[in-house]
Structure formats: C-alpha cells, structure tokens
Amino acid sequence: MSDDNAGTETVGAPGAGGHLGEPHVLHDVRAAAMRPVVDTPRWWWPTVGVLAAVVVLGVVAWAVQVADGLGVAGYNDQGFWAVYEADLVAFIGVSYGGAVVSAILRLTKATWRAPLTRIAEATALVTLPIGMLFIIPHLGSPWRIWELVWPPDWNLSSPILWDFFAVSTYLLATAVFFYLPLIPDLAIARRLLGEHQTGLRARALRRAYQVLGGRWDGTPPQRRLLQGAIGLVAIMIIPMAVSVHSVLSFAFASSSRAGYAETIFPVYFVVAALYTGVALVVISVAACRRLWHLERFINPRHFVRLGLVMVAFGAAYIYLTFTEYLVDGYSGTVDSAAWVRQVLVGRYWIPFWFYFVAAGVVPLAIMAFRRTRTATGVVVASGLVLVAMWVKRLVIVIPPATEPLVRAPLASGGVLTGNWGSYHFTWVPIAITVAATAAIPLLLLILFRFVPILPIGEMEEMELEVAGSSMAVEMSAVGAGAGLAATLPGSSFAVGTSLHDITDEEGSW
C-alpha cells in the first residue's frame, strides 16, 4: 500500500463518488501519514547520523567558546552583538510559519492548507526551541542562565526578561497548537498501528498514543470540543506570535543607538519572521514531500500559494526597509545618517544589497512570471529568502553595534573622528549556526518517527466538508481554477484575492 502514492502528481483522484464510508483517497491519507512512523527508509539512519554529527560539532564549538570566552566568536566591545543575536531572531522567526499556515489560514478557512498544517506546526515546534537555545551562546556567562528563570533576580523593566516571557509563552502555545490537532490522529494512528505492526516499538507507540490521544472517537460532541479548543488557540497564538518578535525587537529598539532605536522595529521584525516562516514551511514541505512521497497530497499548487503568501510578506518587508532607511537617512542626524550611509554604500553594502536582491527582488520576480511560478521556483525563492534574511538580520544587528558613539563634538560644530568597530567571523559562530540549521531537519526526522506527518483527522474532515458541498473538488486533486476558488473561502485573505488571477493560469501546469 505504500507504493500506491509514490511519485504521482496525477491530476484528479479516485474516490470522488459516494463520499460515505472510507473513500480510497482517505485510506491513502492514512497510509501516507503513517509511513514515516512505520517505515524506516534506507537513508534515514545515515541522514540522522550526519545531521547529529553536525549538531555535535556545534556543541563542541560552543564548548570551545565557553572555555575561551566570547572573544573566540569574533565579538569585541565595538561589535558586542552579532551572529548569535541574528540567529536568535532568525531561528525564532522561522517558527512563525506554523502560526501562519495553521492559525491564520485556519481562521481564514483556507481549506487548502490542510495537508501542510502538520509539517508547518512541527517545523514551528522544532525551530522555536532551537531559536531559544541561542540565548546560551549569546550569554557571556551561560552558567548563570538560571538567574533569567529565577524570579527573585528578575528585573521586570528589562526587555530581555520579557523576551524570555514572550518566547516561553509562545513555545507553550505552539506545543498546545501542535498537540490539539494531533489528538484525532493519535487515535487513528493507534488503530493503524494495531493493524500492521506488532513489534516492541509499535506497542510502545500505541501506549503513548493511548495516553496522549485519549479516547478520541470522532463523535460530534468530541469534534465540537476539539474544534472549539483549536479555534481558541488559533486565535490566541496570533497575538502571541506578534508579541514574541515585537519584544525581541525591543531588546534592540529600547536604546538610543542609531539603527536600533527604531519605532518601526516591532513591525519590521514580525513581518520578517512571517516572511521567513513561510519560506521555511515551503522548504520543509518540499523536503517531506520528496522524502516521504506525499506528492499525491501536496501538489505544486500548494507551493505556489505558499509562495504567494511569502512574497506578500516579502513585499511588505521591502516596504518597511525602504521607509526605515529613507527616514533615517533623510533626517540627517549625525548618528543615523552615518549608519544609513555605512549600510547602503559603506562597509556593509555587500550584505545589504545581497539581501535586497536575494530576498527582495528575486522572490518577487519568481512569483511574478508564469514561467518561474512553479514549485521549483517557489522552493528556490524560499531558500534564497532564508539565507538572505539571515544576512539581513546580520545587517540589522551588526552595524549599529559597531557605530562609534563618542564622536559628536561637545557643543560646537566639528567633524566625526570616531572609528567604526567591526565584527570578524570565526569558525565558532558559523559552526554553531550550521549546527542549529542541521538540528531542524534532524528534529523533524525524529519527530515524524512518532507522529503522523499529515493531519489525518483534519484532512478527512476537509474531505467530507468539501464532498458535502455542491462544488466538490478533491483535496488531493489539482482542480480547475474556478473550482479552486470556490473551495477557497479564504480568498478574503490578503493573498487570496490575487489567487483568483493566478489560478486561471495554473491550469497550464
């Protein structure tokens, strides 16, 4: 049965007939969703081994840093914040994909999101702790990190403490938001495991599913209870996601430093997080689709839609970037003008314009042209966005930290004599960053050994809903544009409006 859904991107699917009982496509969903749990492909252990080795290398690099001090990571007094702070922002930022795909698209009732939700939420669940862990290499005295979680030592006026509050709350919400839709799947998975597996692992998994999934039976009262809870958390998680990056930005913005002291920063950070979050969802969905042969359920149309959501955020981010530098440069204040000059045409021009091209122009261009508006194009654009936005975080973090502050003449006029500092990359932060990047697929591979990769319950529910409507289109099928629009009540969503234009053209591929 695992061969059934291998490598097919077939338009149109079987089982569009009666809609009662268990159509063939639904059975496929169950099999496909459980495949990572029950099958261990040949590549699994070597991949996990390599990724784990990379992670271990990062831990070694951190150990070296603990032994020798932050100096080995290239830090200095006029470059006191750099890679780890950018990593902290970037890795917590990519967790926003889960909130977007699961919460926003759920609230806008965009049913096409269903096959993506589990992967998106799982990505959020693994990237958020990784991002939080960057607080450890960030600290100069990590052995005293307990002070941050020790209430008597709290200083409630510190942005960093509120970062901790916001991120940990968001982590709890993400975990809950991952867990609740999982409940029906755990019950289904328990039964499926009973059918096919008898080994020790299967028994242990069944026991775990039993504990976590409860006695889910899909009865209407249970559905109402669960749907109500999921809807509530979906509403709650959006302001929480907004708060996380807002408060993260306060750590920078609540200072008098040009380039940090920006009122635009909270919005700027949130939009960047949404942008990269969707990009990472694209990458992980593409990887999961390829690795576990989910082509039947996740088709190029999903990528294009995600790509459209992504570039919508990307366009907003370009706009915010423009306003930030325009206003600061225009004001002509000594510190601000010097910073803008350094970023745009000075010593930081290469990373800045790399960001501008790779995360600004190119993704928009890819989504603008029909020839490139493909699954491959979206994946390429997403990869570019992830890399370039990490670079952009460096451009945000490093230049203001290196700006000389003792240069303004006391009262009379004068020229600037301060020297810009600099941050020099060393292997330590690069190793730690690469390790954190490797930890994402590593944790996803491990996570999907235990939970269904597709939201079986939700997809089946969608299926029935769609089947019940007069304009039924199979969830797994690439329907005609008109039918798609009809199944997209979420077209009121910002991107949805543009979907109408796009979908007509999509029939060509």
Binding site: L70, G140, P142
Partner: protein, 295 residues
C-alpha cells in the same frame, strides 16, 4: 527587591565609614569628636607654614529642626560623586587610561577611561577623556534582565559581576560607549587591598561586563581615583555635588559650582536624558594662553 538588597550590600558601608567624617557627630557630641579632627586639620595647616594655635569650634546653627533634617546621615549620603574634565589642559597623553588599566588589571582594549581625538569647528584636534558618565538616570540599569547594574546612594553606577550573565544589552543602551566586556580571561591580578566587589572589580570576571567605577573603593579613604591621581595636567577633577568641592591630582581644589559656572561647563550628550555627572570644560590648548593671562 533584589536591587535594594544589592545596593545595601558592601557598597553601602563605604559611605558610612567615610560619611561619618563628613557629617560629624550630632550637635550634642561635638566636643568629643572635635579634638582629633582639628588636630589633623591643623597638621595640614602646619604644613602650610601657619602657626595655628588652639581652635574652638562653634555651632553655626543649633536649631533642632534643621539639625535633624540635615544631619540625619543615614537618609542622606555624604557625597554625590561627580567628575570634571577640563579639556583646556588635556594633551591626550593617555596616562589616565594607562593608570586605570594598571590599577584594575585590564586588557589593552578595555579603556574604561578612554581618550578620544576630536576635532573642533576650526579643524583643530583636541583630546577628550571619556570615563563612565555616572548618569543620574542611567540607561544601562533598567535594561539588565538580572539587575546586575545598580546605582549607589552616592550616585555611582556599578556592575555586580557576580550576577551579570553577559547579555551585553547594557553596552547597547549606553550612549557613551563606556562599557567593556570581558570577552576573554581577564588579566591575573595579585592580592588586592579591597575584596572583589562592585566598588573594586579587580580582577575582572570573564563573561561579564565592566566599566569605570570612579575607583569607588578608594574614595572613602580620601584617595583620588587612579586616572585623576595620575593625570600630569590636572585635567580630571573628582567632584562632590554634596559638598560642592572638586579636586584634581595636582592638588587644585575648587568650589565645584563656581568652577562649572565660571567655565561654562557642559555635559556630554545632554539631549539623551541621561543626566551625566561628568562635566566637561571645553576648549583646548589654544585657549590656554588667554586663560593663563586672565588668571
């Protein structure tokens, strides 16, 4: 609450030692405390070649109400430390930086008091020492997540390196670039005359932030901070807003308020709302002749 506990730690005891001198005893006990004090004062006078004979102290004001409000000692600190930097005399020799680094066993790049080369409107360069500004509203204090920064009753902003976790957000918030992190192991220091505490953070602690402390541990014993004591030009004055006195390493003593007013003293980056307690007297070498002529 932890902040209060910190402030009330070892630091708080210093003003009590030094402060008792300044405040003297309550009026009723004046005769007891006077003799030895005047003895020592007289010693200084004798050094001036004055044959001061006996002295009889008198109370300026004995009204109970004012006495109780102003000599309450415990409530009001005896000093409010400040610094005056007379740029007219600074030649940029950086001996202050060297003395500070020697005393606190700092690395070469940890310039707690740094001397910057500035240019005036005429294109002439001048030197500008920059210690910690000991702001009255220090931006570094509220941002620390673990309350490692605190401000003493005598107006010194200090770092508790036994608490600092090294987020470096204080380095971000300081508009004067006056904070220096220990990115590597600190220079080893021999046994110090003071315990390692915020008032005398020697040796420094790796992974924590450090900065100029006005040599807070030395102040109660009447010793000038290292930078001031070692400035050959007498540029740096230790000031006390409470007693309105400022002293430099050459022994020049001035009435602080008059000195500041007469010389149009300014504070650095006043618009940042930090209310620094470091005062700059502007000008540089070119002004010296005119200044000397008028003096």
């Amino acid at each position: 609450m932890s902040k209060e506990r910190r402030v009330g730690g070892p630091i708080q005891q210093e003003p009590q030692d030094g402060g008792a001198d300044r405040e003297g005893a309550p009026p009723g006990q004046v005769p007891v405390t006077m003799g030895r004090r005047n003895l020592l004062r007289g010693a200084a006078l004798g050094a001036l070649g004055l044959a001061a004979a006996g002295a009889v102290g008198g109370l300026v004001d004995t009204s109970p109400s004012s006495a109780t409000t102003t000599t309450a000692g415990a409530a009001k600190p005896a000093h409010q430390w400040a610094m005056v930097i007379d740029l007219r005399y600074c030649n940029g020799c950086k001996l202050c930086t060297a003395a500070c680094q020697n005393a606190h066993f700092l690395h070469q790049d940890q310039t707690w008091i740094d001397v910057f080369t500035m240019q005036n409107a005429a294109g002439e360069s001048y030197a500008m020492p920059r210690p910690c500004m000991m702001c009255e509203d220090p931006p570094c204090v509220p941002v620390c997540p673990v309350s490692a920064n605190f401000r003493t009753a005598e107006g010194l902003t200090l770092v508790d390196q036994s608490r600092c976790v090294g987020t470096r957000i204080c380095m971000n918030s300081c508009p004067y670039q006056a904070r220096y992190f220990n990115f590597s192991a600190p220079r080893p220091a021999p046994r110090q005359p003071f315990p390692q505490e915020p008032a005398w953070p020697v040796p420094q602690v790796e992974g924590t932030v450090g900065k100029c402390v006005f040599c807070a541990a030395m102040l109660p014993s009447g010793k000038l901070p290292e930078c001031m004591a070692n400035c050959p030009m007498g540029v740096l004055y230790l000031g006390d807003l409470e007693t309105d006195v400022a002293v430099n390493g050459l022994g020049n003593t001035v009435k602080l308020s008059t000195f500041l007013a007469d010389n149009d003293a300014v504070k650095f980056k006043e618009s940042y709302g930090t209310h620094p307690r470091v005062f700059y007297i502007q000008g540089h070498g070119q002004d010296l002749e005119a200044d000397a002529a008028s003096a």
